[in-house]
Structures are given as C-alpha cells and as structure tokens.
Symmetry: C2
Subunit: 638 residues, 2 copies
Amino acid sequence: MATQAGRLSASDHYDIVIVGAGPVGLMLSTCLARWGYKIKHIDNRAEPTATGRADGIQPRSLDLLRNMGLKSAIMAHKPARVYEVAFWDPPKGGKGIVRTGTWASCPSFIDARYPFTTLLHQGMIERVFIADLEKNGVQVQRPWTITGFTSDEKADPEFPVTVQLEHVDGTARETIHAKYLFGGEGARSFIRDQLKIGIRHKDPIAYVWGVMDGVVKTDFPDIKMKCTIHSEHGSIMVIPREDNMVRLYIQIASSTDADFDPRKTATQEEVQESAKRILNPYSIEWERVEWYSVYPIGQGISDKYTLDHRVFLGGDACHTHSPKAGQGMNTAFLDAQNLAWKIHAVESGFAKRSLLETYEPERKNVAETLLDFDNRYAKLFSQRPNAASDAQAASTSSSGPEDNEFIKAFKEACEFTSGYGVLYKENELNWSPAHPAQSHVVHPAGTKLRTGRLLINADVTRVVDANVVHVEQEVPLNGAFRLFVFAGKPSVTTQALKDLATNMGRKGSFYSSYTRPDVDSVSHHEHDLPHSKFFTVCTIVAAQRSAVEISELPPLLARYREHVYADDRWDRHVPDATAAAHAKMGLDQERGGVVVVRPDGYVGIVVALTEGTATVDALNQYFGSFCTKKLGEPHAQL
Amino acid sequence: MATQAGRLSASDHYDIVIVGAGPVGLMLSTCLARWGYKIKHIDNRAEPTATGRADGIQPRSLDLLRNMGLKSAIMAHKPARVYEVAFWDPPKGGKGIVRTGTWASCPSFIDARYPFTTLLHQGMIERVFIADLEKNGVQVQRPWTITGFTSDEKADPEFPVTVQLEHVDGTARETIHAKYLFGGEGARSFIRDQLKIGIRHKDPIAYVWGVMDGVVKTDFPDIKMKCTIHSEHGSIMVIPREDNMVRLYIQIASSTDADFDPRKTATQEEVQESAKRILNPYSIEWERVEWYSVYPIGQGISDKYTLDHRVFLGGDACHTHSPKAGQGMNTAFLDAQNLAWKIHAVESGFAKRSLLETYEPERKNVAETLLDFDNRYAKLFSQRPNAASDAQAASTSSSGPEDNEFIKAFKEACEFTSGYGVLYKENELNWSPAHPAQSHVVHPAGTKLRTGRLLINADVTRVVDANVVHVEQEVPLNGAFRLFVFAGKPSVTTQALKDLATNMGRKGSFYSSYTRPDVDSVSHHEHDLPHSKFFTVCTIVAAQRSAVEISELPPLLARYREHVYADDRWDRHVPDATAAAHAKMGLDQERGGVVVVRPDGYVGIVVALTEGTATVDALNQYFGSFCTKKLGEPHAQL
C-alpha cells in the first residue's frame, strides 16, 4: 500500500497534490484519503463556498454519495427535490405565459432509486466532504495556491512531480514532491495553462447569464418546481432551493444577438425587473437576495486531461458549459471517482500503470456527450419559442409527435441528465468482442447488462440478517472490484459454485494472485476485503432467504458472509420472475452468471457460471489484460 | 401561548418540571420545548446512559421519530435492523439446537413504512433528543434529584405545583413553582411513591435476567438476527446491535423454580458458560463485553398515572415487564407524546382541562395490553419447549395449525409489538356512536379508518413541487390537529369544498374560533399553521398532479399550499384504484371525505364531505365536546 513506501514519511513527500477544493478535488481527495493515501490538498479560497455556484445533485450522483455513506449528511440539510420540470410559454395569440406541459425530471423508464434532482448549496456539499476528509486526517490547506510544477519520471521515478505552493498573501512557500498532481481548479486552471493544453469550443455561441439566489414572494404556481419559461420578454429558468430559496437563471446576452457584447452586464435590479416582465401575469417580489452574479460562458472542452499520466485535470478545468442542465458538479464527481480508483489500482500494485491511460478517453467522451447535449438544450432554451407549436404541446405528459422540439430534446436527454446515460466505451476494462478475453462463456446470451454501464438496480435479502437491501449499493466505494456471483438455483449450480471457488483459490488466479499479505490476521469482522484488497465477492442465490445456509456455500464465498443474498424480492419490472434480480440482469434464473463490476460501479464483464475452469479462465483473461501479474495457466493446472 | 403568561418570566416559575431524562422524559421535554414551553428538566445521573438499558425502536416509533425530524439522526449511528426472528429448539430426539422456523418481525400484513426493529444503544438515542432540546434552549440539569413536592390548585390556580430539587451531592437546592410535574424516573419512582400510588402485579411470576452486550466470535449462523433459543440447558435471546455488538438475554431464575431466590445472581463468566452450553453445537467466544447486568423483574402496572392531573407519571414508572419484546422505550415514547399534546391543547386555551383526564385511561389500557402480551410471551419463553411439537413447526413460514404455541403467540403479537396495534378506546377524542357528535354524515359507510387508531399509510404527490410523499408524515408533530380533506373528484366536489371552506371560515366554527391572534402578520412561508395554531389542513385531490391547480381551490384550503396533494400514486394494496389513498382509507374516490387526525396521529373522527353545512356542523360537534368555546350555531347562521 501507498503509505508503506519509505519516502512518504518525509514531510515534503506526498502521494498526490490536489489543487482546488470544489466538487472534483474533494471527491478525489475523499476517496484517496479513505484508501490510505497521503494527500496535500490546497485551495486558494479562505473558506468553502459561501454562496452561489453549483447546487444540483443528479439521481446517479446521489447513488454514488450513498455508496460513500455521505448521502444522509447531504439530506440532513433538507435540500429541495425536483421531481418534475414545468414548461411555460406564451399562450397562442395571447399575452403573458401559460404552462404548456410538465415532465418528470427522471421518468420512470429510468429505474432510479432516487428519481429526483437534489438542490443544495455547494458550500454545504463541500462541508460534508471536508468533514469526511478530516476524519481521515486530511485538512484542506487554505488559502494557498500553486505557483509552479515540474514532472520528470526519469529524474525521480517514484515521486516525479515537484510542486511549488504558496500562501495567497505570499508569506509562506512549500515545495512538495509527489507521485501525482491533480488540477481541480475550475475553468481558469493554472495547471492546464502551464501544460499548454488548449480549450476547444464546440459551440461557437457564447452567452451571458445572470443568476440570482433569493427568497421571493410570488403567486407563480410553479415556484417550487424546476421551470423553463419563455416569454416575449425573454427567458428564465427557475430552480427551487433549500430554505425557501429559489434560483433564477436569466439570459442577458447571446452571441447571436445583433449587438452582442460578452462584457454586457446587468444590475440586480435590472434582472429583477426583467424577471417581473417575463413572469407577468404573475407577480414576484424579493424578500432577500443571497447571491447575484453575471458571467459569460461558452462551451469548452480541454484537448487533454493529462500529458504524462502524472499530472491530471478534471471538473470545470476540462469542460465548461451552460448551467441549464445542472450537470457541472455531477460530471466533476464522476471525473474524480474514475481517476481515484485507477490511481489506487496502480499505486497498490494491482494494475499496470497503463490503466491510467483510460481516464482521459472515458471521461472526455462523457464531456463531449454533455456538451453535445448542452449545445442543443441551450440553443433551444435561448431561442424564443414558436408560440403556436408550443401551445400544441400543452397538457401532454407522454412522449408523442405533438411535442415541440424543446420538450422532445428534454425528454431524450433525461437519461443523460439523470446520470444513468453514462456509457464508457470498450477498452481493457469494459469488455467487447475485441477484448483479449476470448471465451465462449463471456457475455452469455440474454444478459441485459452492458459493459461500461452501471449495474442494474435490484433488491435482494441479505441472508445473515434478513435485511432487504439494494444489491448495487452493498459494496461500499472501497476501491475494490465487485464480483457478483449470481448463483442461480442451488440444486443446479452446486458443482459450478464449487469449481468457481476452487479455481479462484488456485495459485495464479486473478483472485489469489492478489491476496492480502496480512490475510491470516484479518479480523473476522472484516466484511468486504477479508482475502484481497482488490475484490469484494457477493453471492446472490435464487432461493428464499430461509432456504439459504451460508455454511453450505464453498468456504471462499461463505467468508463474505455479510455479502450472501437471497434473490427473493418481488420486482414490478419483472413481475413474473421467481428470482427478480437474476431476471433484471438478464441472467438465467437457474444457472446464474458472474458479473464483474468495476470499483466505480460500471460493469466490466459478464461471464456464464459453468462447471469446470471456463468461468475463472475467462476472468483470468479479463483481469490479465490490465493486471501487473501474469494470471492463470488453466491447462497446466487442470 | 404558555410563554406569554406573566409569572413565567420569574426564574423559579416553569410550565413543567420533568424528572428523569430517559426516553419518556426526553420525549415529553422535546415536544413541549418545541411548542414554546418553559421547562425545568432534571436527571440524577451525571451523564446520559453510557451503556446498556433499552435499545429497541419499533416500526411505529420510527414513524414517530421521523415525524419529529429525528429519524435521520438516529439512523446516522448505523443501528442494526431486525427484519426476522429465528426460533431455535432442540431437534426431535437429538442433542443441541436446530432452527425450527423464522418469522418476519413486522410481517407484510402490517402496512409499515419501516418493517423492522431498529437496535441502538439508548444513550445514542437520548443524545439525539438532548441535541434537539438544546436547540430550543433546554438543558437537562444534572445530577439533580427531586426531594419533595406539593400540588395545591386552591393555593395557586396557575402554578399549583411546588417542587424541591437538590443536587445529588446536597450542595445546592432549588424550589420551583410549576403548572405540572412529570415523573419519568423509571421503575423506582420517587414521585409515584410520594403519591402513594400502588403497583399491581398482573403476573405473580418474577424472573431474574442476565443481560450482556458484547462483541463475539461465533459460528452460530443467526447471530445477526433476533433469536429465541430454547435448549435442554436453558433459554437465551439474541439481539443484534450496532458496531458488531450482540445482546444476549439469559434467564437466570424464575419464581416457578423450586428453589427460586429473587436475589439469585450469576457472574459474567457463569452466564458466558451457560450461553456456550445453550448454543452447542455452535461455538461462541467473547472478544469484548461492553455491559453486563443481572436484574430481577416482575410485571407491574401502577394503579394511577396521576392523582390530580397536575402531577403525572409515565414510562417505566407506570409499567414494568420483561425485556423480551423490546417494548419499554416505545411505550415510554407514546406515553409522553400522548401527554405532551394534551398539555399543549389545555395550556394554549384550546381544550378544556378535562382533556387531561384522557391520558391515564388511554395509556393505561395500552400498558395492560402490553403486560397481557408480555405475560403470555415470557411464560412461553421461559418454559422449556416440547421438542416434539416444536419440530413440527420447523420450516413453516406462514401461519398454520402446525405452529407451536410459542410461534403462534408471537405471530399474533406482531401487530402489537410493531406498535401498530395500539388502539385508544372511545372517548371525546375518539368518536364512537356514544359521542356527542351525532350526525348522519359521521363515519360514512365504507371507511376503513378506525377512530383511536393510526391514520392508514398512503403515498401521494405534493402538488406544489411534485414530490412523492407519505401523506401520514406530511404534518410534523406540531401539536395541531390534522384535518385531511380527501377532496374526491374535483368535478363532483366543487360545491362541497366551497361549502366546507365557507363554513370553516364562519364565526363560531371549530376552525375560526381559534384563529391565531397574529394571523395578519404570519409569513407567507408558514406552511403548517398560517391561520390557527390548532389545525393544519391537508387537501388530497383525486386527480393527476398536473391537473390540480391550487388556485382553483377555496382560498382557505389553498392557503395551505404545501399541503395540497394529488392522489395519483399506484399502490400495491389497492392495485385497481384510480385514487389509491382515498381507496386505502375506504373513502369514496369521487366524493371524498374529511378525516380528523389527533396531533399524535390517531384518527379522531371521519366525516362525509357534503354540500351544505352538515360536514362542518359535525366537526363543530366533535370539537365542541372538548374545546373551551361553544362552537357553531349552524341553523342561525345559514
């Protein structure tokens, strides 16, 4: 493990220097701190975000926060929850605005645990992470800034990055030696500039936005909903917030305007007057304005997320876009989570260093998709609507040919905005027919799981205590791969399970090659990582809970006693299934299957559960494509 | 309101003195502190409970804690959750123990939001209440004790109770004048003794129990479940706890033993040896013992809960019983909640003083039922089972004639132990045909609601923000009655709703007679009590959310804009209903009905929603039976 390296004990040697304590930096820091890394984390602000900035947590991000045990601390602040978006437009041939439709922000075709957007001030979210960091001994050093860095693996292969840090008032300086440097500094990234990484503007249109958080008195009926309002006087977006607050986004200028000036601004009073005109015939008055800001924003994406896989970028440093879809913080979280476990896999000796090369393509592709989406969405939003066609869309609540372009675009984007649309393309982690793992047992017919996408949600009953649990949440974000053994019907799979365990336990397997050095002294209370730091094994049996005896499973599987489940919960999505979790995954309810889920929750590979060595052979091939050790010698060991 | 009374500003005058900061005292104190009362709360311990004591929160108590906004703070401690109880007995004709059955601790026939028992150390629960009290300016004064008190309404009608308090080391004394005194001191109540209130022992059998909290290493498969284990070597009960702990209850002696000695004891080592014998063939070793105690306990119930309705008792001071069913803390919570809102209703001028006379019969009847249950349950548990008949019960998971007496008793008791079985008998609060409210519109045909029982659970969609919510949780525990207007189908009930609002708004109605004196200056952000401190009004419309316009409701109902709901959620219990919440209550899905729920969540009266004055006339009669003012003159005002 990282902390065992000798030079790390020196006060100026760190595993990583993280610059910026916004969502991306805090997520990275929190993960790595939990996994035992030595972190220097700085931010140039004296305090966490006090007002304004991002505030939208999408459904999939809430899953992630729950998986980290941070959701309840977020929800304790009583955030607003957005279940629906309302569209308001001018009435056909009339004045003012009318509601032309509403749409679920996370419709039921998405099988989300939390089908709503959570709205909470970014500062409160930051503090939840900071409190967790402090539990693990990491303090964000403020207000400090980065003044320079070099990266040279030849000069120092272990700590190739040298970083100069300075107190913002110039009174103190430090030079740090680190394995990695991460720039989570936001859109104006010093590190990105130093690396001379360019920004590409996908959409040439730039906008100036006004954003105002405050408490209002209004008779507008949807003030507690997310609304997009178009009127002859302009457009506005309404976002409800905690503590009776509401956020209004008003577009002040667009580069499509005849007289566009990116430095155009508007006073708070001007924006309020504009809002009053747009909301007419409804009234609106401000009781309090908590925050007001005007900022120009263009769509941008950085050409690279790293140069040498020692210095990385993430979050707003890599992608900027309009605030409309509430994606900024969510994309930042996933950037950081993606990088965190890969650094861990490499630094703890499990994966080859080349695994880090998957960070940029996986996350950059998501950013490209985000910008494509934002581009279409923002364009529609900033154009005045065709009142006639908008009126047609009134009162529709299901998709149909009568939806106007805006509503249609919005509906199509729901899966993406909820966070469930993220798809990582094929590579060594996400199996495809081009992957080195070439076995007839890979990707068994019928599976509904898609590599590079999240594991499908399912409820199961934990055998040891009969608790009904969400199987996709059962392994905490611990940096380990999640091996879900869908065990099928016990009478059918007894031998296959035995063979699975035997071959996993054999010398040279993906599993036994990375046994913990302290395996003999691990406490029997260790639930998740008793044998290996790189795998948590869950066994899901297609039987009633009371019929499952953990002691009858092969000992290797039984050791994960808190991760043995009965697939005995009814599910509305597969009402006729006898084993609903198996059925939702598209796995045979009698014969089961093995699903490898990456530490970040995305499916890596699905393998049939067979008698003999084929299942473990295929897993050895899969892991062998990115592991440090040569895995499996199936034929020699039969 | 209480705090406006002149003499309350004096330092030695309080609304109430509460003695004991266990569950009953803390619940009472927390409620009254939130509602603005001046409280002197003492406890003779220097600190909250450090180890041991009660730890079981039943499903209905979790509802209550959620309604108070305290559930998430409890759950943040990661308590154990018991979903099932396992029964272990000697095998037929064999040695050792085998599992003879399991049963859901809160079976699905109970429509519980949280169908499990929450197990958490009492000290953590106490601290959640204490933190809430401190937010409202109340500190528990420790370690202080009560040394004497008098109660004389003639001498001082406003502050009739005089209480002497003393620091436990005798270094300080105080004399307090109060409106009420509450004894929540536990089984050895000084206040009860002073009042010379006797204890009746329902069951003459006494027991000596050993209880041990600790961390164990065992291969007993159900160590994370609640288990009742009978063996030829004795009986034991297993209760899982937070932090890998387990609690074991072992019966050391019973007055039915030939050589019974109530002072019989056992050392920790003796109990551990006994547990090892009982669990054989499974092994058990202790890694740590957190708490161990031996205590004799008999069933007892105090003859009175009060003498003069100024000095009250609650919790263990009123009822003692075996620890088996985990009811102590839950019964204590409900004692306190029942008393709290009644004191509030009287002291704030809404209800006649005689309302306090309902506390004792309502809560004493629940205690009697608890003791009846405990009696049967404890007897069965302490008797050695008939191995032959127990074996027959093996593997049954649904009720049937083959269940042995123990399992049968347990199944029957589930509703009671979950907390949903509480039934308050008919009185002025709980309508019956004998109630003064005699109208043909009361208790309309078909209703499934029972007065004196909890409102039935239902999901609805809050119109203002489209949030899916639990309707029974929507009004916080604010001391107010909850008026649920099930509005039926809008096209059918437009006139009835208008008449309801008009007649509620008329001078002399139950509603307008208790208008807030500051009604004109109440903030528009006040959701729950904008017009009256005694009523929160919820309107549930049988329509899709997007079809409900709050502005089309009568203004009186529309003012509670955060409490307008659409009855548009599908419910498994009434799969064919178009308006599931209406259907679950047994109300007409087109014509609706009005449900009055007491401040503690129990149904008071159900009235049809009709055109004309009949609905409000009936409500005036209902509230008039216990309100301070003469309500309604229906005919004169038509």
